[in-house]
């Protein structure tokens, strides 16, 4: 188990290096460099050249790459041209907002999606199953941002029960109970928008998993042992059906971190997705670049997380 995790971590390392090289070259393809935004036309060319040399901008790419990586490890991700602040500061504000949004969404997805999937598979072809399956078809056909707009209109404007923009009410003391409640209040609509559409995959996957597991020989053997229906489903069918879902947890979470872009935009929610859209439209490439690096990093992390979870829940993986 530990060996598996360690080895899995080891594989992650070259992936990260490859990712960073890719992002680095992407960055050097972008117009301008670290000085472009700072330069005053009145400064003489020799002085600029001196600055360039001091910053190592004329060094070969691998030296520059090394400096870039070293700087990142020291927490220096460069400056945002648009905000005129270090990139890390700009992202830092938004990061936690998106993490909360994703976490909320993923919790709702599993809290609603897993029971729906299990019920749907367990009572296949019943009225309940038909309703659930119908819902998943609808969910597949509806784009998240359209659904988000509908919820926004109904609950935000028509009934006015939830706030329609921002991540927290104005004038609240950070850390106070009111502040936290306001945060949660701001999260409810966007996270349900994401989750109610996002859970259809989980429901369908689980439904077919349960139906498939019901036919398995080991389920027949369990029935021949006299295992009662409830225990049969809990110990033999659900456990086996849920494995792929558990294994997908990492990807799901990462998918949400990156995939909430449009919902953040719909709800004017100040998260990383909104920042990413903003940085592209303002040509703030130093921010966009770091965000790409960050999303890539998350994807690798998600895959790692999924593999580790899978190795915990499935003994067949543990051994190999």
């Amino acid at each position: 188990m530990i060996k598996f995790t360690l080895r899995r971590l080891l594989i992650t390392f070259p992936q990260l290096v490859l990712l960073s090289i890719l992002v680095f070259f992407l960055g050097s393809l972008m117009p301008g460099d670290a000085l472009s935004g700072l330069i005053d036309p009145s400064i003489p060319a020799e002085a600029i050249q001196a600055r360039r040399e001091a910053l190592g901008l004329d060094n070969p790419w691998y030296i520059q790459y090394r400096d870039w990586v070293v700087a990142m490890f020291q927490g220096d991700f460069g400056n945002s041209i648009f905000h005129q602040r270090p990139v890390l500061d700009v992202i830092g504000d938004r990061l936690m907002n998106t993490v909360w949004l994703s976490l909320f969404s993923v919790i709702i997805i599993y809290l609603i999606g897993i029971p729906l999937g299990l019920i749907s598979g367990r009572y296949k072809d019943s009225l309940l199953d038909s309703v659930i399956t119908g819902y998943t078809y609808l969910g597949f056909a509806t784009p998240t941002f359209v659904f988000g707009l509908v919820l926004l209109w109904i609950f935000g404007y028509h009934f006015g029960v939830f706030p329609t923009n921002g991540s927290v009410g104005a004038g609240l003391e950070p850390g106070s109970i009111d502040y936290i409640l306001s945060k949660i209040n701001h999260l409810i609509l966007p996270s349900f928008s994401i989750a109610l559409i996002g859970l259809v995959g989980t429901v369908q996957y689980l439904r077919s998993g349960v139906i498939e597991a019901q036919q398995k020989d080991y389920v027949m053997l369990a029935r021949a042992k006299g295992v009662k229906s409830a225990a049969l489903y809990l110990k033999h069918i659900f456990r086996n059906a849920i494995i792929p879902i558990a294994a997908f947890f990492g990807y799901e979470l990462v998918g949400l971190l990156g995939g909430s872009i449009f919902i953040e935009w719909v709800y004017a929610y100040p998260g990383m997705g909104a920042l990413f859209l903003e940085s592209i439209s303002t040509r703030d490439f130093s921010v966009a670049n770091v965000l790409i690096l960050f999303y890539g990093f998350l994807t690798i992390l998600g895959a790692l997380l999924s593999d580790i979870i899978l190795s915990i829940v499935d003994p067949r993986i543990r051994i190999k």
Binding site: A222, K225, K235, H236
Partner: protein, 349 residues
């Protein structure tokens, strides 16, 4: 109390195909005494496995009728709770494919202890030890270690031993073995058959052995019931069946096996194919279409299973006129029969 451990009378199990029910087990009656091995023989599609699953009440979407008297009581009338008490308790089952019969996510010991717990055979404190004893009993080396293993860590032969350990855990009175060695190598098969025989001796249970392998039948069975197209066509003590087979299907089957005596000659081929469940002609002798050289008058209109010698039952009168067709061989005739069936769309299941 009846002299039989199990007595199934007129058992009929129908499955739904395209909205209609068709009997896969059609008016089957079998009896098993204590300490007796009854072999149920037939090819795929004959209904032998469906019979076994019906006895245990394991079919979910089938229509089952008739009666199944176990120790004198009709268990078909049982509700699910009463049935669960019998399943794995007094009636246990061994499955065909050990590679898929065990839950991949549960340790071996937990899969055994589950059945001990349900049937309350041993107290909680004794379960751990009893599990090891069971594994030992089915010939598993280093049982303490195997108990902690997951199924995928064991070979096919070992897994089948675990499946058997689960089956005998509660000292069943009736053991239903559904093709218990079909998926195994012959040397492993020999060991597993030995084991089943040994355990049966030890427990004094009745065994219903379902198999298509006539060699296994000859070695294991006391009595044999041959199934074709959902019906039992012949029942006889094992020696009698092999020495003096009567029904055309039994005789054809025995002749289609490669054997020492037949070396260098063509094997006997049964013409045509087993009819599909929903395309079967349920009037008259079901084997008649496959022995077209026997005149129609030789068959009965409503073939009955009749005792022709003590303990030897045969369905339909056609056995009296039956001879193995060697002249026509298999060539032309067979082609013609198959072409006919193709056109009727009667093939394929």
């Amino acid at each position: 109390m009846s002299e039989y451990l199990l007595e199934a009378n007129n058992l009929t199990t129908s499955f739904k195909i395209d909205g209609e029910y068709y009997p896969a087990v059609d008016d089957v009656s079998i009896r098993i005494r204590e300490n007796e091995v009854l072999a149920l023989v037939g090819e795929s599609g004959s209904g032998k496995s469906a019979t076994a699953f019906s006895l245990m009440g394991l079919h979910r979407h089938a229509r089952v009728s008739g009666e199944v008297l176990f120790q004198g009581k009709d268990i078909l009338k049982n509700n699910e709770r009463q049935m669960n008490r019998i399943r794995g308790g007094d009636i246990a089952m061994i499955f065909q494919d050990p590679m898929t019969a065990l839950n991949p996510l549960m340790k071996i010991k937990h899969q055994i202890q589950e059945t001990l717990k349900i049937h309350g055979t041993v107290r909680k404190s004794g379960r751990e030890l009893y599990t090891i004893e069971l594994l030992e009993k089915v010939g598993i080396p280093r049982p303490e270690r195997v108990a902690e293993n997951y199924p995928h860590e064991l070979s096919g032969g070992m897994r089948q031993r675990v499946v058997i350990a689960i089956a005998i855990a509660n000292r069943p009175k009736l053991l239903i073995a559904d093709e218990p060695t079909t998926a195994l190598d012959v040397t492993i098969q020999a060991q597993i058959l030995d084991l089943i025989r040994e355990l049966q001796d030890d427990l004094g249970s009745g065994v219903l052995l379902i198999t298509h392998d006539l060699g296994v039948v000859a070695e294991m069975a006391d009595r044999v019931a041959v199934m074709y197209a959902g019906q039992i066509v012949e029942v006889a003590p094992v020696r009698e069946l092999f020495k003096n087979p009567k029904h055309p299907y039994t005789r054809s089957l025995l002749n289609s096996l490669p054997s020492e005596e037949q070396l260098g000659s063509k094997l006997h081929v049964i013409q045509g194919v087993v009819p599909a469940l929903n395309k079967m002609d349920r009037e008259g002798c079901r084997f008649a279409p496959r022995i077209p050289w026997i005149p129609e008058e030789a068959h009965e209109h409503q073939p009955k299973l009749r005792e022709v010698e003590p303990g030897h039952l045969v369905r339909c009168t056609c056995y009296q006129d039956f001879y193995l067709d060697t002249s026509m061989g298999h060539g032309e005739m067979e082609k013609r029969v198959e072409a006919l069936q193709m056109e009727e769309g009667g093939v394929g299941r």
